[in-house]
Amino acid sequence: MSANIDIAFTLNGVAVRASVPAHMSMLDMLRDELHLTGTKYGCGEGECGACTVNVDGLSVNSCLMFAVDCDGREVVTIEGLAGDAITEALKQAFVAYGAVQCGFCTPGFVMQARHMLRTRPNPNHDDIKRGIEGNLCRCTGYKKIIEAIAEAGLASNVENGP
């Protein structure tokens, strides 16, 4: 067991402090220490995208980043996006287009899709497929997820965000 390290960062717009073991992943910190369970463990090695979060404007597999590396950064999870225009458009489209079945992968897809729409508004289906190829879904066959993201891209009609 390694000693804990104190870190300070912005989580969903709020300044937070945490004391975490050096080997702890950001995913474990979010889930076990900060009790934000919308970010999911699917594989722990960056292959499934269920743990996708946003760090300083970049889309990140939180299982692959050490918690201590959050120090000084701005972290956004699915919980922090209630009310965010793109996210609301995505959530509505995921619901309306049937892009959710068991739902375990869904928060990761929403996070990744939001990142995509912020960097590339109105993507076509091929763009979307490339954009979500790091996210696995076992239930839907992806088609409805792709349709939902395309619809949200149109609906949110967003400008490039930071």
Partner: protein, 795 residues
């Protein structure tokens, strides 16, 4: 009106695109899966698995682990002398006491203050093994003098404490056998003008639910067990856990948090569940046990790997004459549902097409490999792969178009097959014709064949396959029923308590829809409760594509009783016969004119407060009119049967062996579409799962060891690889189905691999009889480097 209401629109709800009721929570990350639940005082459990494939356990030393601060309990088989076996054949103790038969085998378990401490404790447990020779394949298992996987009787204490043989030694390594026959193979052969024979080999794949396995076990102060479980069969498991633990079933409550994927994987009890319960009992604390992904790959069930020898014949005129099939199933180290997939395989073999003479034999063989459970399609992917290859091969042999050949032998409505299945509704021929038409199958097939030798290294292929699967439940137990309790409160809100489980497939939405349709209520006024055995009525579980059909009929039954009750009371109040009244748009109306007499909520409220005060609550139990099979496997096991044809269009790069699935055109006899959005989701997801089975997924097992227990090396299909999907729904309006619907959950995954195999042949002229069609396997097959599978000499 919320988003779901808006999408539903007005009028009849049947056939509409209805978003899932639980989707908003899930898309917001608010849904609490078992991984997200922590109980006060909870401990974390981890399991020590075998470092050996096959070995005697000589000793286990847990002293150092027990001494680690934060460790509450370390258990081995010696600590639970009252252990009883799990599984279909009761050949499996959760904690192994004498030997290990697979690297997944559970040797010890720890409950600790944290997962990290539990993991550290595992490393301190010392196990001394005496290695035994490994049985790596069914072939090895059957060779003379092979080591025995279950060479001794399994003896455990019975209910009275006296030792009982719960599983007899398998001295030939045979775990289970099945034999089915109809007609006379010799007569079929004599009538044949063409006979084809092949050996097929179907590989290991696994479910890969995105939510890994997990359980939380807790005993209350009165020693009642509360189990937070992902099971697909809560009521049957309640009884099984009772037997396993020597408890009164009435003291077991199973709560199902939302489930992160099922696909059949959660149909059996696995060792981690009783182990968590043992730990909870010993520590008197809630115990949570959640797998890692690696553990999920190693220690959860697989699809049944099958070696199959098939001979089929037909007349010159294109009429099937006989089919003779023998299969070997690598059962792995223990027996779970995978061993019983022959129930489904034999249905496809005997009854997808009319075959007068049929013989089917199978043996499930013990080995030191992972063991197979149930997996969406339940043996049907394997059987369909072989049957549909032979349909193409026979058609080619006698020089008839493969679609015509299939149409000649396809089942019709009203048929009763020699195996006893009665196809009351059957859209099979429509499936064949519509899938072929929509994909332009016949023209493309001929064009691709003509282009085979044009020098272009990239070949195009088109292939067809069809399937038959239960669509009206499956009476594999003496009952196949489901109960519903329905109550309407004084604001006309309905609470539907159903035995049916939601595993992401959308059952709660379909059930709400069916109830709203009966009662004239909007979807937002129905709340579905489906996750607690202390609350919900009995059901046999979510499997066999049964939920919409069985639970749907049950929900409709309860809704109709409620409606009858309301209209009878309204008839009195308004002085009109009940038959002239109806419920529409949340009102009681005159049926003929639609004239609104009173708001439903107001009327129900008045019932509560009247002289003879009454609540509107009803219950209904639906048992389908199907029959348990007899000892010869004959019987009409389902109240309805689902049919489908899928046409696969592919591209094969002959330089690399890469097969791209371009398009699937499907035609599915679904009885009737209830929720169009939901059924499309089932079909699309099933097709892509079938694509993975055909092209990318391969659980590599060498000498008993899973070599690729991660998503990097076990390749699920990703978004850029999905095919175009064009699906037609054939609505045969099944007479017994809820609003005419049949079950559909498993159907879409079944045909894909078979259709792709036929497409590869169409593209290249090479018939590959072993899955998966990975680039390496396809390249070798195209360049004469791949040995086709052979039947086992010793068998």
């Amino acid at each position: 009106m919320n988003d779901i209401e808006k999408a539903a629109g007005s009028g009849s709800l049947i056939g509409k695109r209805i978003p899932k009721k639980d989707a908003p929570e899930k898309a917001s990350g608010k849904t609490r899966y078992i991984h997200d639940i922590d109980l006060p005082g909870q401990l974390y459990a981890k399991i020590l698995r075998s470092s050996q494939v096959h070995a005697k356990i000589k000793s286990i030393d847990t002293r150092a682990a027990k001494a680690l601060p934060g460790v509450h309990a370390v258990i081995t088989a010696a600590d639970i002398p009252w252990q009883r076996p799990i599984g279909v054949a009761k050949d499996h103790l959760p904690l192994k006491h004498d030997k290990v038969r697979s690297p997944r085998d559970e040797i010890a378990a720890v409950a600790a203050e944290s997962e990290a401490i539990a993991e550290a404790a595992l490393k301190l447990i010392k196990v001394d093994y005496e290695p035994l020779p490994i049985v790596a394949t069914a072939e090895e298992a059957l060779s003379p003098g092979a080591p025995l996987v279950h060479g001794d009787d399994l003896i455990t204490p019975g209910p009275d404490g006296k030792p009982v043989v719960v599983h007899q030694a398998a001295l030939d390594n045979v775990a289970m056998t099945f034999q089915y026959g109809q007609g006379d193979i010799a007569a079929g052969e004599a009538a044949s003008d063409a006979i084809v024979e092949d050996v097929f080999k179907l590989h290991y794949v696994t479910h890969c639910c995105m939510g890994v396995s997990g359980v939380i076990a807790e005993f209350d102060a009165s020693e009642n067990l509360i189990l937070y479980s992902n099971t697909q069969v809560p009521f049957l498991h309640k009884r099984e856990f009772a037997e396993l633990l020597g408890m009164d079933p009435g003291r077991i409550r199973i709560i199902q948090p939302p489930i992160g994927g099922g696909f059949g994987s959660k149909l059996d009890i696995y060792p981690f569940e009783p182990i968590a319960i043992y730990l909870a009992k010993i520590t008197r604390r809630p115990v949570k046990l959640v797998f890692t992904r690696e553990e999920e790959f190693i220690a959860s069930p697989t699809r049944q790997p099958v070696l199959m020898k098939m001979r089929s014949g037909c007349t010159r005129g294109g009429v099937l004459t006989f089919r003779e099939v023998e299969t070997l199933h690598d059962n792995g180290a223990y027996t779970s549902w995978g061993a019983t997939t022959p129930f489904v395989m034999m249905q496809t073999i005997s009854s997808l097409y009319r075959v007068p003479h049929c013989d089917y034999r199978t043996r499930a063989i013990y080995s030191n490999n992972p063991y197979a459970g149930s997996f969406r399609g339940y043996g049907n992917l394997q059987a369909t792969f072989a049957v549909e290859a032979h349909m193409d091969r026979l058609a080619e042999t006698i020089g008839i178009d493969p679609l015509e050949f299939r149409l000649k032998n396809a089942q019709d409505p009203g048929e009763v097959t020699p195996q006893g299945m009665h196809f009351k509704s059957c859209g099979f021929k429509d499936c064949l014709k519509i899938a072929a038409d929509r994909s332009n199958y016949q023209n493309k097939r001929r064009a691709n064949e003509a282009r085979r030798d044009d020098g272009n290294p990239i070949k195009r292929g088109v292939g067809m396959a069809s399937m038959l699967h239960v669509g009206g439940g499956a009476k594999i137990y003496p009952s196949d029923g489901c109960g519903t309790i329905l109550k309407i409160d004084d604001f006309a809100r309905v609470t539907l308590l159903t035995g049916a489980s939601e595993i992401g497939q959308g059952s709660e939405t379909v059930l709400a829809q069916l109830v709203c349709e009966e009662l004239g209520l909007p979807l937002s006024s129905v709340n579905v409760i489906n996750n607690d055995t202390d609350v919900t009525p009995w059901d046999v579980g979510v499997h066999a594509s049964r939920t919409t059909f069985i639970a749907g009929n049950s929900a409709i039954g309860a809704a109709r009783k409620a409606k009858d009750k309301i209209l009878a009371a309204a008839a009195q109040k308004f002085g009109q016969p009940a038959e002239t009244l109806d419920t529409r748009e949340q009102c009681i109306v005159e049926k003929a004119t639609g004239k609104k007499l009173i708001e439903l909520a107001k009327f129900i409220r008045s019932l509560h407060f009247s002289d003879k005060a009454e609540l509107v609550m009803t219950s209904f139990y639906y048992e389908p009119p199907s029959k348990h099979q007899d000892k010869k496997f004959k019987g009409d096991v389902s109240a309805a049967y689902a049919w489908a044809t899928q046409v696969a269009e592919i591209e094969v790069d002959t330089r690399t062996g890469v097969v791209k699935l371009l398009k699937i055109t499907g035609a599915h006899d679904v009885g009737r579409v209830i929720n169009r959005l939901g059924i499309e989701g089932q079909i699309e997801g099933g097709i892509v799962m079938g694509q993975g089975y055909a092209l990318t997924e391969n659980l590599i097992v060498e000498n008993g060891v899973v070599c690729n227990p991660n998503f990097r090396d076990y390749k699920l299909v990703t978004a850029p690889e999905i095919p175009e999907m064009d699906v037609a729904f054939i609505e045969t309006m099944d007479g017994e189905g809820p609003q005419g619907a049949k079950g559909v959950g498993e159907a879409p995954a079944i045909c894909v691999a078979a259709a792709v195999a036929n497409a590869i042949y169409n593209a290249t002229g090479v018939r590959i009889t072993a899955l998966p069609f990975t680039p390496e396997n396809v390249y070798r097959a195209l360049h004469s480097n791949l040995q086709p599978p052979t039947w086992i000499a010793a068998a």
